[in-house]
Symmetry: C2
Subunit: 238 residues, 2 copies
Amino acid sequence: MRAPYGLNILDNCLTCAVREEHLFCNLSVQAAQHLNEIKSTAVYPKGATLFIEGQQPRGVFLLCTGKAKLSTSSREGKTIITKLSEAGDVLGLNAVISHRPYEVSAEMMEPGQANFISRESLLQFLKDYGEVALRVAEQLSRNYYTAYEEIRTLGLTTSPSEKFAKLLLSWSTKAAPGEGAAQMKLTLTHEEIAEIIGTTRETVSRLFSEFKKRQLLQLKGSTLVIRNRPALEKIVQS
Amino acid sequence: MRAPYGLNILDNCLTCAVREEHLFCNLSVQAAQHLNEIKSTAVYPKGATLFIEGQQPRGVFLLCTGKAKLSTSSREGKTIITKLSEAGDVLGLNAVISHRPYEVSAEMMEPGQANFISRESLLQFLKDYGEVALRVAEQLSRNYYTAYEEIRTLGLTTSPSEKFAKLLLSWSTKAAPGEGAAQMKLTLTHEEIAEIIGTTRETVSRLFSEFKKRQLLQLKGSTLVIRNRPALEKIVQS
DNA sequence: TTGCCCCTGTGATTGGCGTCACCAGAGGTG
DNA sequence: CACCTCTGGTGACGCCAATCACAGGGGCAA
C-alpha cells in the first residue's frame, strides 16, 4: 500500500491500536470482522474537507491518524470551531443517526487517515449487532455533553480573557494531567484560537501579550509553557 | 385520584394522548405495558424543580402536561435557559444514558404532571427491548441538534437584536406555521427572555420598545403580535 | 537573492451593551 | 386599605472589545 503525505497506512481495524479505546472497541469477533468489511479507507492531505455542514450525510468517518477541526459558519462568514478531533474519534455520527444534514464541517488540520462507513452500512450494522446500538447512544450522549460544555462557555463566559484562560487550562490538563508547568506544541494560528473562543484575531494576539506580561504563560518558538496555572484558574473563576 | 393545582391526572401511558407522537410511541403492546409498569406519576406546582444541574441522575421524566424550562448557571449566578420543554418531552435522558450528572436544571414554569422512570428501570428496559435503544439514540441525536442550534445562536450571532429577532421568528413559526401576523400569548418575563438570548433584562426591555417603534411587533396586554416578519428575517440576516 | 503571502503585534477609534439607579404599575397578602 | 414584592420602562455613564490600519517577520517558491 502506498503511503501518500508521508503516512503509514493502517489497513485492518482488528489490529488497529486506537481500536481498543474507542467507540467500536471490544466488539465480538464477528462484529469487528463485519465492521472491517464494510469500511473503506482513505488518506487525506492537510486542509482536506471530509464533509460540509448542511450536506446530507453520506456516512461516518473513523479518524485513524491526524487531526481534524469541526466548525460551523454563518452566512456572513463568521466561523466558530466547535471541536478539535483526534485519532479514534468518530465524525458525522449524529447526522447519520438522526437522518439530518451534517451540523458541522470537518477539515483535516494535518494529513491523516480515516475509515469511511456509509450511512446504509452503518445503520444495517447497528440493526444486526444490537449490542452496539446502546454504545452508539452512549457516544451520542457524550457528544451531547461536550456540546453543552460549549454552550456553557459561549453563553456564560463573558470576557475573552476568561475563555482564553479556560482554553489554556484545558490544553494544560491534557498535556500534563499531573501538575507543574505544562508544555505543549502550539499548532493553531491566532485566527483559529479566535474561532474557538469566539473573538477576533487581534484580541487573541493581545491576550497572548498580556498573559505573557503577567507571567501566566511563555512562548519558546511554537512551544507554549503554562507558567501559573493557579492564576489561570482564578481568572476562570468561581 | 385527586387533582392538585387544578390539573386532570393522566394515569395510563397506554391511552395518553401525547403518547402517539413521541419517544416511547408505537411500541409493541408488551413494551408499552412494561413501560406503564415501571413508571410512577407525580404532579408538580409552578416553580417546582425536577432536577438540578450537577446531580447524579435518578432517572428520566416524561412531561405529560405543563411546561418546564431547562437552564444552566455559572457560579457567579449568570443563568441561561437552553430549552423550553413541553408535553411529550423526555427530560434527563442524556444524563441517564451517559451515566453523568444532569447537565441542566429543570424547573416547572406552570403546574404539570410528569412520569418518572428510574435510571435502573430505564436501562433494564432498554436492554430488554432492544428495538427501543435505537429510538433513544435517535432522540439523543435530535437533542444534540438542538444543542448545536444553541451553539450557533450563541457563537455566531453577535448582537442582542439579532438573537431577539431570531427568537421572535421561532415563536412565530410555531404559532402560525403558515404566514401572516402570528399571534401568541407571551408567558415569559423579560428576565427569562434575557436568559434565553444571553443578555440583560434592561436590553430586552429596550428591544421591545425599539421593535414596537419600528412596527415589527405589537403588544396587546400579554398577547404578542408579529407585524412584520420579513423585516425580522432581514435582521436575522444572511 | 528577491519577492510574496500569511501570520503576528499593536496603536487609535468608536459604539454597543452592561451596569447602576430610579420610578411606576400590577398583583397578591395581611 | 396599606404594604410589599415582582415586573417593566428608561436615563446616564463607562468600559471593553470589534474594527480599521499599518508595520514587521518568517517561510516558501521562483
